[in-house]
Symmetry: D2
Amino acid sequence: MKKKIISKGSTKPKVKPPDEEAAAKKKKSLIMPHEQLLINNREWAKEESIKDPEFFHRLAHVQSPKFLWIGCSDSRVPADRITGTQPGEIFVHRNIANMVVHTDINLLAVLEYAVFHLKVEHIIVCGHYNCGGVKAAMTQHNFGIINKWIRNIKDVYRIHRDEIDFQTKEDERLNRLIELNVQEQVMNLAKTSIVQKAWKEHKRPHLHGWVYGLEDGLLKPVCEMNHGDHLDPLYEFDDL
Amino acid sequence: MKKKIISKGSTKPKVKPPDEEAAAKKKKSLIMPHEQLLINNREWAKEESIKDPEFFHRLAHVQSPKFLWIGCSDSRVPADRITGTQPGEIFVHRNIANMVVHTDINLLAVLEYAVFHLKVEHIIVCGHYNCGGVKAAMTQHNFGIINKWIRNIKDVYRIHRDEIDFQTKEDERLNRLIELNVQEQVMNLAKTSIVQKAWKEHKRPHLHGWVYGLEDGLLKPVCEMNHGDHLDPLYEFDDL
Amino acid sequence: MKKKIISKGSTKPKVKPPDEEAAAKKKKSLIMPHEQLLINNREWAKEESIKDPEFFHRLAHVQSPKFLWIGCSDSRVPADRITGTQPGEIFVHRNIANMVVHTDINLLAVLEYAVFHLKVEHIIVCGHYNCGGVKAAMTQHNFGIINKWIRNIKDVYRIHRDEIDFQTKEDERLNRLIELNVQEQVMNLAKTSIVQKAWKEHKRPHLHGWVYGLEDGLLKPVCEMNHGDHLDPLYEFDDL
Amino acid sequence: MKKKIISKGSTKPKVKPPDEEAAAKKKKSLIMPHEQLLINNREWAKEESIKDPEFFHRLAHVQSPKFLWIGCSDSRVPADRITGTQPGEIFVHRNIANMVVHTDINLLAVLEYAVFHLKVEHIIVCGHYNCGGVKAAMTQHNFGIINKWIRNIKDVYRIHRDEIDFQTKEDERLNRLIELNVQEQVMNLAKTSIVQKAWKEHKRPHLHGWVYGLEDGLLKPVCEMNHGDHLDPLYEFDDL
């Protein structure tokens, strides 16, 4: 993968006079990658302020996103970019393979904050095809502490083994597991007392399972769960 | 905060003829917010493909980010946007108040994957001023399961109480705690066997603590730790 | 349940002259329950020293138990008492419903310490009939933070639903789930890299699943797993 | 340490005729250690039934312990034995170094169950001198996943460094850290919303910090916290 850190916060290509460009290139080679991020940041902040002088001021005073995004840490799936949203619109948690683990205080704190304090209306669990975390779970390799995380994915495989193994090709099995994993994580959300309480009291949030295609940049909805939908009674609380 | 979901993936304002605009507005009011994200996504994917027909194809085949970003879930701090980076450049974990908790398998899996599999060169812990999670930790309110997460921040307060309480104003105390919290999380990274092993074997990653200003959009470096820097011997492993 | 805190460390009933007994009773009513434990402790320590003057000295210098016991916190299932073992013989972890949760650092630290540092030869997962934790998991009640723990048991139910629901009576379903839960926890041990590594290198530990009967005080073996036994390949590491 | 698995559940030495003893010894050498536990169990259950035919029946129907014991997994510190208590009297959680970690669902589930469902009156955190877990935390060795657990102890050391390092001898430092660790874990209990809520509503439980001496078998109280005692306001909830 060719990768470049562009010096503009926007995606607009800017044409510089040849000399200036050569000087900039030379200068760039002397700066560390993380310094480049800081330079980009200053340019971006400046540009935003010019375009909309009230931009930061407005944002600074309140956060009221409509969405919670639970996505993969993968660098190729930035929530805001692929959904065309602005700062302030999506509350974000990203971990390896977009998991919702019921004993994970990290995720649970995010979820409770988003549902009861920010009052988000939608929660999107977004996986992506060819996910390295899911792929790792399909191997027999020892990944150290990562084992403890991807055991959750192995358990999804175990439950849906018949359907996955029905696929004849390796990458079809992988991609089917990725979809089923997203579906299980959406159900894991529905199994929390947090979501069930919000459903009962506010008829929100709506839960969505999507999978992102690295090859085409498109988001594909794979499942949805809402207030009133059937939930396995084993996991349903009757006294929230 | 006025908030709008723009229908373009880019930040370029587009002028539409009055009639078309009215029709678009009307149509928009009938679609659900999450559907709008999917519409934005299709437009974004199309635009990217037009600008660079190889864009997705290149990205799909390899992920080799130089950075791991550990940031806050806050919707106003999207890692890629504020650093002017492209999909593929930053591996991202976001949780409430950008914490590095040593028993948190979620974060530890991200860290190990980023350091040993993706071989990132830099890890950035990025807090932001006026952080709701840190603010919550300074109150005496009961936040349910969130209590378990922000106890970690209370412990940072406890350790640096003198320095924080030295500030006379409420928001100065808050912002000082935010900075000290970032600093502690950077040290928490340095205390892991994962980072120490990578330091020993590869002299990377470089650890950076930054704080983002919602009011001006600027990133402010507050600390840094590298291979060879002094670490409290209590937390140093001598046999990695 | 009639419950008494006996003032002797042993189970030998001691006959006291009537007057002394009355005085002791009177005195007892003035002391707090936890003080009674301390009084019991002093008597026990004294008795042990009299019986075997070297007892504590021997124990103090080394710990080399052959067993790790993973049992329920239930007060009626004290590991050493029901197995007729002495201090020094069993390394013990007890939690609600004797669970082996793969993301639980608490249990994992116990397991690694027992297997690689103490080199235990046997690990016993011991459940018990009429377990309150398992019973709770079969209801739809909201138990607060306990929900997060017993979700693991609900997942065992989900996997073995057909077999459990085949039982016609409520308490038969409960007791079948208790047995299947023990079996799953033994398999959870076998799925850890810790146990698999020890199996490969040392052909130990032997894993045992037992269920204790509160009604008769008897331990009933329900399953066993050893080095070389078949393990679902999905969970088998091939490069430890 | 000389260690023997005695074949009796009681501590009463039984004299056997020489021939019978020899035969028993021979037989013993052919049985596996875990089988011996099962044999011991059958003898114990039989003896208990003879002494008190109602013993198991009474116990089976209700559990109402007055105490929650949070102790070390160490095989030499069996809660019931050293406190001279009977089955049914102490609800038990044991982990490495008797820690109360605020993100640990395992312990939190035990705590909530004990406080709100069993309504225990006392919680005892019991450490012991020469604790291997605490000792490990004072070294710079890499213990694998155990690192994640004993980091909590290193953090106790960090906070009390002056007081610990004031001790001139290695084992004095160790034992001082063990005492301070117990004290911190008692405070960790007091910092939970679970304990604070019970204090407010029921003026219980009483919290006790004890340290057990392996050398003399004695329990030494080191601290105590009760409803109404001063608690760092940073950790006090004002709206439970």
